[in-house]
Symmetry: C2
Subunit: 250 residues, 2 copies
């Protein structure tokens, strides 16, 4: 008999090749699966809600794993926090769920934060944690551009060309740009996102913020349904997966 455990995770994406196991480097998934194997003596798959890219961080990633039923959720959390040391991965919480509940397929919402530091000088304290954008950015203009992307659209212009999703249609429930101290934060929420969608949106909004594009150019890029019509992909180090939502009761 096994129990299915949901874990909520914080990690620094910097040292990893991303969430997903790769032959080319160490992934967050591999560190967690090796820790789970140490704990249980068995090979255990850890399934994440979102497959964050290399360099992308998380403060609220969710994953599930099935463990022998002698291990409860709290024991799994304590053991994984100890066994993933010294990697920058922390299990913030753990709970047992119904075995039908799936971290990726049961999720009904994801939230991301994108942090930009718009100043000439490089960050000493937040190196690798923000996109260092050397030119100033106009937040109001960026929000005007963002407004064109909220809602249900064909996001072909903003998906990676190698994105494997069946459909390019997604519903962006929130896309909010705000000033926080010296930084600009972009908050994005949707049921699910396409590959590179937020980084491509961010790279495009930065064109608007720096005065190279108008807000209407964003609408035109969206309508073109062509990746080359939108702006460049913003770097991974500013992106954080902050929350994954599940149906009430699951």
């Amino acid at each position: 008999m096994t129990r299915r455990i949901f874990i909520t995770l914080e990690y620094d994406g910097g040292p990893f090749c991303g969430w997903q196991r790769q032959k080319t480097g160490l992934s967050v998934q591999q560190v967690l699966e090796e820790a789970a194997a140490s704990l249980t003596g068995q090979q255990i798959m850890v399934q994440g809600a979102g497959r964050t890219d290399a360099g992308v961080h998380a403060t609220g990633q969710v994953a599930h794993l099935d463990v022998p039923d002698k291990f409860d959720a709290n024991r799994v959390m304590e053991a994984l926090n100890s066994l993933t040391n010294p990697h920058p991965i922390t299990i913030l919480g753990a709970r047992e769920v119904d075995p039908e509940t799936h971290a990726r397929f049961t999720a009904v919402g994801r939230r991301y934060l994108y942090r930009i530091l718009p100043r000439r000088q490089p960050p000493a304290l937040d190196f690798g944690r923000v996109w260092h954008h050397r030119a100033p950015l106009n937040v109001d203009a960026m929000q005007d551009g963002a407004a064109h992307l909220i809602g249900r659209h064909d996001f072909t212009s903003f998906r990676a060309t190698h994105c494997q999703a069946d459909s390019p249609v997604r519903t962006l429930d929130e896309l909010r740009v705000e000033t926080v101290g010296a930084e600009i934060h972009i908050h994005a929420a949707a049921r699910s996102f396409l590959h590179h969608q937020i980084r491509n949106i961010t790279g495009t909004l930065a064109l608007v913020g720096s005065g190279k594009w108008t807000a209407n150019d964003v609408a035109a890029a969206l309508a073109a349904c062509d990746r080359s019509a939108a702006g460049p992909t913003a770097p991974p180090e500013g992106l954080y997966l902050t929350e994954v939502r599940y149906p009430v009761g699951s």
Copy 2:
């Protein structure tokens, strides 16, 4: 002829033995002095406003240096930012001042921030940037304790036993405790501080926040004028020198 240049600095204190040159390790001052020597071909002293300890960070440290007058403030900033690479030190701004103006002795105010992360699980993203306090803390109780320390007092109970200041009397203009997301922030402002004063205050307020002390115990510790009467020294990694103020016009 030389010009006196004030530089404003951000640095990650983690890799350094502190601001001040030491035989035992690399200091922020040494990195800056070596960069200034590379730029000018001369041995140049860099004088800081605050001598931050090993592991203590800065987002607004100020320092001065005297450079040959063919170098203007902007050139000094650009050159030092390039020459301090790859150390986590950034010169955020530079301006020429009157040669009588001294980064340390002309300063009329200092501000510090102390960041505490009160949760059981260790920080994955902010490791080395916050004090990881495993037990919960009551912010209101901490603020009640802090209120006893605001104003002009003999801070003998809160200074390092090896502190070299002539007088233990200081005037604390602000000591404010607030919740910011998952963290607790302590804001402290004074004309100047004693050695370890903020870390000793923070360690004491944490006793109040965790229910081991009452707010009145803080008043009693202050009145005792005895270091052993106050709480332990909080670790350096939560402390940030955020601002140094000078008289208007200097």
